[in-house]
């Protein structure tokens, strides 16, 4: 295989990384959790993934595919089918809105707005699940999960940013 061909494959792999990760997380229901003093905590990886990529490079994740990932996530996690799609799409709306309004992007600004975004999404999620479906969900656990997702946002943002830089380097080298 020629060097150019290898490079092309590598670039397309890097470009489709967010999509591969999104479907991997949706299909496996992969929930990163950790223990602190024998209490288990988890965070929502998909929220960070969608928010970051819609904010920075919206053409990497298609809205239709995000909708599909939501449906898959609902089936795997045993939620009413369609609820995760609504959550993800609301997150997309907020991210797209922030993108339209932002002139000088900064991590701190994104981080605070991400908190507002996940609070809105969690509220919608909780309201639909409890009021419409009488789904047994604990408000405290949902809020803890949202807060941990908010705390982890900068770390994953740095990681995604690194992938962005690798992609740019490869494209420049071409």
């Amino acid at each position: 295989m020629t060097k150019i061909k290898k490079q092309k494959i590598f670039i397309s792999l890097i470009q489709s990384f967010p999509l591969i990760l999104l479907f991997f997380l949706a299909f496996t229901g992969f929930d990163l959790n950790f223990f602190i003093f024998s209490n288990s905590f988890s965070f929502n990886f998909i929220y960070i993934l969608i928010f970051y990529w819609i904010l920075k490079k919206p053409d990497r994740l298609g809205y239709g595919l995000i909708f599909l990932a939501g449906i898959i996530n609902d089936v795997v996690q045993n939620f009413p089918i369609g609820i995760s799609s609504i959550n993800y799409l609301i997150l997309c709306v907020i991210a797209a809105f922030i993108r339209n309004r932002t002139l000088v992007p900064s991590l701190l600004y994104d981080w605070i707005l991400f908190l507002i975004a996940i609070l809105i999404v969690s509220s919608v999620n909780y309201s639909i699940l409890t009021l419409v479906f009488s789904f047994p969900i604990k408000y405290g656990t949902l809020m803890i999960s949202s807060f941990i997702t908010f705390l982890i946002f900068p770390i994953l943002t740095k990681f995604f940013h690194l992938i962005n830089i690798i992609e740019l380097k490869e494209q420049n080298a071409k």
Binding site: F27, F67, V75, G82, V93, S145
Partner: protein, 278 residues
């Protein structure tokens, strides 16, 4: 004037976020949110063609999920294998200390079984639960602090019914909460939403076993105020709900300060094959 233009910018940004498709987007967010709401409203149809379609979709997604998770399941299985291997010597020492007399225990068990049969005949008690069971393979293991459930490769085509008990060997694991054509979902006894009616022996106290999101133990709720539970008392399903069969052993009581917990007999992290009453 300035506030008017600011408001216009705000409205334009919202409209653009909802309706603009972007370079490679086929649908606007507004269209997809409307479709999501329509899909969500289909949840109200619990029977008929919509339900059948939903079951088939779930089956397909579970199969896809099973294939994608295969490498991780393999790693997980080997991790527990290694852990068991490393702990083998400690376990051997513990078993040696306990010095079980299996033959005498087996005879005692036979005696109690005959005694129960006689007593049941005396009070004309009929066993309403089927003794038939299906052996099923665990396809997916959904374990997070908020969801403790597993997917198995048997559905209503194989005669699985909603709500029935699931066992690993002869111990209680959980109950069926969702049945599709070829797959079903088991809600483990450790799940936050799991509530199982139980009886604690030898005192004969009834209670509810409530999952705590931890795969090692669950909590006993609705106990009488003056109960005399002791560490090591055995907890069984009581069968008062009329769906879960009675007398399936679940675990042993352990008391921690004010709270009473049940340590499961089964390691819920390592389920591979389960038995389902049908």
């Amino acid at each position: 004037m300035a506030s008017d233009s600011g408001r216009d910018d705000f409205i334009i940004a919202i409209r653009s976020a909802f309706l603009k498709k972007g370079n490679r987007q086929k649908f606007s967010l507004f269209t997809l949110i409307v479709i999501s709401i329509l899909v969500l409203s289909l949840e109200y149809f619990k029977s008929g063609p919509v339900d059948k379609f939903r079951s088939i979709t779930k089956d397909l997604i579970f199969k896809g999920s099973f294939f994608i998770s295969t490498p991780f399941v393999y790693i997980n299985k080997n991790y527990y294998k290694l852990k068991d291997h490393l702990e083998m010597y400690e376990e051997y020492k513990l078993l040696k200390q306990k010095n079980y007399n299996l033959e005498s225990l087996s005879n005692e068990n036979k005696f109690y079984k005959t005694e129960i049969k006689k007593l049941n005949n005396l009070i004309a008690e009929e066993n309403i639960y089927s003794k038939n069971y299906l052996l099923s393979k665990v396809l997916l293991d959904q374990q997070s602090p908020y969801l403790k459930s597993v997917i198995i490769n048997k559905g209503f085509k194989h005669g699985i019914k909603l709500g029935v008990a699931v066992k690993d060997k002869s111990y209680f694991v959980g109950k069926i909460v969702n049945v599709n054509v070829f797959t079903s979902r088991i809600l483990l006894a450790s799940d936050l939403n799991s509530k199982i009616p139980v009886i604690i022996e030898p005192s004969g106290i009834n209670a509810i076993l409530s999952g705590k999101g931890n795969n090692n133990f669950a909590e006993l709720e609705y106990l009488p105020k003056n109960n005399n539970l002791k560490n090591g008392d055995v907890v069984y399903t009581s069968g008062v709900d009329g769906i879960i069969a009675s007398a399936i052993p679940i675990g042993k009581v352990f008391i921690n300060e004010e709270n009473k917990y049940v340590e499961f007999f089964v390691d819920l992290n390592q389920l591979q094959f389960v038995k389902i009453n049908y």
